[in-house]
Amino acid sequence: MFGYLVGRLSQAVVVVFVMSVIVFVGVYAIGNPIDVMIDPGATAEIRENLIRKYGLDQPLWRQYFTFVGNVFQGDLGNSMVYNIPVTSLVFSRLPATIELVMVSVTIAAVIGIPAGLYAGYRPNSLGAKLIMALSVLGFSVPTFWIGMLLIMAFAVELGWLPSGGRGEVAEFLWFKTSLATTNGWSHVIMPAINLSLFKMGLLIRLTRAGMVEAMGAEYVRFARAQGLADRQIVFSHILRNISIPVITVFGLELGSTLAFAVVTETVFNWPGVGKLIIDSILQLDRPVMVSYLVMVVILFVAINLIVDLIYARLDPRVRLKGGS
């Protein structure tokens, strides 16, 4: 178990290293951030001074090693645009994204898994066909378009919900969240539903496929022959068996939603990290890009690790071995 963790962590370090090199080379290839940001009226002298001040006149490898050196001293650098530490910039926006994503994956799981189970249990019923049709819509219709429709319907026409923004936040346990106020919920519910549709569709289809397959399996027939109630068969035997693919996909989706919820965040003007990273890319704000991507890599590695641990718990055949 310990060896396994060490293996996983060293993998993460390699990925972070490779990724940071790619970002540096990428930004370097696009050009000089100063030329993107600088005011058109600046003189050549001002421009030269700035390039020197930010160390952009140095060869790429030296810029990179300066960065790595600072990181080892715990300093990810200051944003070029905001001139505040990158970590505090990202962490000022991260809670909003986490909150949105958590609500949306909860909605997706709470509706998606039972709906998928039902659709697999009674594959020929009208309800099952309806659920499957809706699930296709869920992951084929573009998110921003559904978002706009939701806004037009519930904010502009009916006026029930606000069209965007985060709403009031209140202290809950040790952090501030809008989930602690009614006003906050009225802001979060629409973007969360919007963000959950794709995942919901995916979960429905995965659960249904697993269910249909399991219904014909030996162990189910055997359980039936023993006279077990269907409820017991579905919830204590089938659900456990089909959980592995569902959890894998769920984990990956959780990660990618956290990292790239940008479309929904933009449409609903949600103050999360997605918009921050897109703007940093447009302005070539390299410190923010690198640090954000490093955090995303760490996040993915952590989620994968948790998923693996859950596997081992669910399926006694899975053994976690060192380094593999």
Binding site: G31, V36, E45, M80, N83, I151, P162, G164, S186, N269
Partner: protein
């Protein structure tokens, strides 16, 4: 059971959402962009200056047409070739109650080089050599050489108290600790990309402000901004997209305000001996650079139907341009005629220049800097094809376009240029004057254009302190550059604001700033 819970839940949410809208004298503005910091000396970004004006005042102010008017300084005059004297306004107080004096201005000028970032404010102090406080209300600025445009530069000189201290940076300003100005509002709160909240300052020296509290909310997405207005979350929005502007004409619940902007889409043909991307006839690269021939540049100009660009391509939100600045700006030439559209004449000129069957060339533009840049780019390529040219238009993201344009990799480009200072030296000095890093001219002259006649007149203007004489010289310089088609202006872009009907009234500004203190409730 489930149904009824759901219903009461939605009802509760609906009640809650409907409640907190109508409070007396509060203004909610939805803006495309906001500041990057509360430190007024950090960046030259337009949306930064616009936001910080609410808290801080500038030494010199500008009216709706960008012409100078008194700000914290009531008057200014040159006392010799290299010295300007500014007289300060009396009785102005900072938000913390201290008096405003010339000492604060001196401190602010000296603070800029210490704290400014990658969009450097040193741009506006580049002529300053030294600053001398004569008395509390008099300040003398010695300049490096003659600097007739110093008062224009000081329209961006925000004044902070001299007690601020050189070590205070963005974090102290963002937290509000150092966000102390003389402006019409006091700072309440802000975070990057979030709301800027300000409250009325009772001790303000200027006209009384109508709003007790103003929230400037950043909503970068166009559709989301329009939705926020339509759902009543905000009272006013800027940068309304053309399509929404059209639909708003039939909507009684919103009111629109339209104004010309400072931004003009200009075409820059490279006139260097060797063009960066080859120009071809029948697939073979031509000898020399056809764009060096004035007849070719004139032909490109004649083939542009500016009325179609305005009325069809930009859906009415534009004005045909015949020079690099809008009318009324310092140095705008009245002598220049309206640009002509004549495809036949364009073909004749091309034939005269030795290209009866036209040629093939690349044309590169931005696609995300200003509304309509990409569509105008493609429309232009089609217009030129009618004159027999094959133009490969490519609209690129600014992140890619600007560094490559800086490296001068394109043969012909189009991008927007805004005369943000309201006078000709800024625009013609950077775009048209021969490239001369030593004197700081021609920094954005990526076309390699060089015209001794223009340079002479322009430099004479730059060395003339008398405003009227300088204006005439700049007008002549504009005339020379435009007749020579150094750059080809196409359209002045317009900008649209939209507000809840019967809620407020304001005069739109040509610099597109949304100044809450100039807005009055209806």
């Amino acid at each position: 059971m489930l149904k009824s819970t759901l219903r009461s839940g939605i009802a509760a949410i609906a009640l809650f959402a409907a409640a907190p809208t109508a409070m007396a004298q509060e203004l909610m503005i939805g803006l495309r962009a906001g500041p990057d910091s509360i430190d007024p000396h950090w960046s030259t970004l337009g949306s930064q200056a616009e936001a910080l004006r609410h808290v801080f005042d500038t030494l010199v102010d500008v009216d709706e047409k960008l012409q100078l008017k008194p700000g914290l300084a009531v008057s200014w005059e040159p006392i010799d070739d290299t010295t300007w004297e500014f007289k300060m306004r009396e009785g102005v107080k900072f938000h913390d109650g201290t008096d405003f004096t010339a000492e604060d201005v001196k401190f602010s000028i000296e603070r800029i080089p210490q704290v400014t970032g990658p969009m450097p404010m040193t741009l506006y102090t580049k002529y300053v050599d030294s600053v001398e406080v004569v008395d509390d209300l008099t300040l003398r600025v010695s300049t490096k050489g003659m600097a007739p445009s110093l008062p224009n530069d000081f329209t961006r000189l925000f004044v902070v108290p001299s007690e601020t201290g050189m070590e205070a940076g963005n974090e102290e300003f963002n937290s509000g600790e150092k966000a102390i100005g003389t402006g019409p509002f006091t700072f309440v709160s802000w975070e990057p990309k979030g709301d800027l909240v300000v409250e009325k300052f009772d001790g303000y020296w200027g006209e009384e402000v109508a709003w007790d509290k103003v929230t400037r909310r950043e909503i970068p997405d166009d559709a989301a901004r329009v939705a926020a207005l339509k759902s009543g979350q905000v009272d006013l929005i800027n940068y309304v997209p053309a399509t929404d502007y059209l639909s708003m004409q039939n909507d009684d619940s919103v009111e629109t305000f339209v104004s010309d902007s400072v931004y003009i889409l200009n075409i820059a043909p490279v006139v260097k001996d060797e063009e960066p991307q080859p120009i071809k006839v029948d697939g073979k690269e031509v000898e020399g650079n056809p764009l060096q021939d004035l007849r070719v540049r004139k032909a490109l100009d004649l083939a542009i139907n500016r009325d179609v660009l305005v009325n069809v391509v930009l859906e009415g939100l534009g004005t045909p341009a015949n020079q690099l600045m809008p009318e009324g700006f310092f140095g705008y030439s009245d002598k220049l005629p309206k640009r002509e559209y004549n495809v036949e004449k364009a073909k004749e000129l091309l034939a005269e220049a030795g290209y009866p069957d036209g040629f093939e060339m690349d044309f590169t533009c931005t696609n995300n800097r200003v509304p309509g840049d990409a569509v105008v780019c493609e429309a232009l390529a089609q217009m030129w094809s009618r004159a027999g040219l094959k133009v490969n238009a490519q609209a690129l993201n600014g992140t890619v376009f600007f560094p490559a344009a800086q490296r001068e990799e394109y043969t012909m480009t189009m991008s927007a240029w805004g005369t943000l200072t309201g006078e000709a030296a800024y625009t013609y000095g950077a775009l048209v004057h021969t490239k001369d890093p030593e004197k700081g001219f021609g920094n954005f002259n990526r076309a390699g254009y060089s015209n001794p006649e223009f340079d002479k007149v322009f430099q004479e203007g730059a060395q003339t302190l008398d405003a009227e004489a300088r204006r005439e010289l700049y007008e002549e310089a504009s005339y020379i550059a435009m007749e020579d088609r150094a750059l080809i202006p196409t359209v002045i872009l317009q900008s649209v604001w939209a507000a809840q009907a019967d809620k407020l009234d304001f005069t739109p500004r040509i610099d597109q700033e949304t100044r809450a203190y100039a807005i009055t409730p209806e």
